[in-house]
Symmetry: C2
Amino acid sequence: MTPQHHLPADIERTSLSIITAELDAMGLTPPPETAAVVKRVIHTTADFDYARNLRFTPGAVAAGVAALQAAAPIVTDTNMALSGITKPGLARLGGTALCYMADPEVAALAKANGTTRAVASMQRAAAEHPGAILAVGNAPTALLTIADLIETAGLRPALVIGVPVGFVNVVESKERLFAVCTAHGVPAIVAMGRKGGSNVAAAICNALVYSAAGMLDPTDRGWK
Amino acid sequence: MTPQHHLPADIERTSLSIITAELDAMGLTPPPETAAVVKRVIHTTADFDYARNLRFTPGAVAAGVAALQAAAPIVTDTNMALSGITKPGLARLGGTALCYMADPEVAALAKANGTTRAVASMQRAAAEHPGAILAVGNAPTALLTIADLIETAGLRPALVIGVPVGFVNVVESKERLFAVCTAHGVPAIVAMGRKGGSNVAAAICNALVYSAAGMLDPTDRGWK
């Protein structure tokens, strides 16, 4: 039997209902403030571990939503995350998203300083968009650069999304970023542990964009 | 203490060693043919479930590698997956990767036929590149379209990578695709169950591209 073809919006609404019901059954119902983010990450990964892994500084979601409503740009550490961020949602907000990884100046700067493009791209983001939402889905070095700039250079991004994935330096980089953000009052959303990725970074951005653009039903944080 | 900054290639080599050791410790050592794919997907997701979820038709990896060495194009169902495919690796092979999702003709065709852009984009891929590697990380409808075209229209792609993620129609679409590919001798790599995604589709493509380009150490399927 061939499964039926459905429309994407219907599928997404049904998917979020299933996720909500399964989270409830597991005793992992997220609080209203973070529900849209948690559910969208699970929607993107089908991995309920994120209901336990995602950590938020107090008010982080509201800070991200407010920044997007004030047209703060999103800067990502990969073109893949950039590619996954909803363009129609951003357009509703008059917002922008960008990534410096393919920028020739960033490559030159990384080479000159003996560092990585990920580090150089976040240095550039901090210089050009100090009040941006910084979304890191790949490079722990990018996250450490942000933590250093917050501690030593007074950087105050609107929000840091820290969800690199991996096995080397990743867990430590996320713990350090979360501690530094907490100490300096910088809003942060971090996936503790090894898991994360560009898709997770994009999903978190999209949950914030949809919330900021009034595209979600406030009762269940799924689609209107 | 600030974790040290490392070079990306070193991090990747170390990560693959960790993944290999943990797979061995869990009794999930993949066979040599599929090891590069399995390990790269785990590298991308930090999710060892893929050691159990990924299913391969016999010779699927070799078929994908041979197709890439013969410069078969990769067609993805999302621009995010396209964005994640290694451009330096493809360049070594003289290969190409493309995605029709943002193509205005595909949007018009979907509207005219009352279907989704995902379906229309795979119909277009089948018409223009019938011997391509088709990589589906998002849309189960794209996978069902491929299965239908294999069954009823004699489509014979070089390889189908079927790894959509989700909660509605996804599990069924992957089971149907794998059964149809098996019945018709079409090579397939599928992530059974709910998990998958554009990042997983790109990771599988990249494992094949790196293998085809001779960039992997054949003994441990990690980096040379």
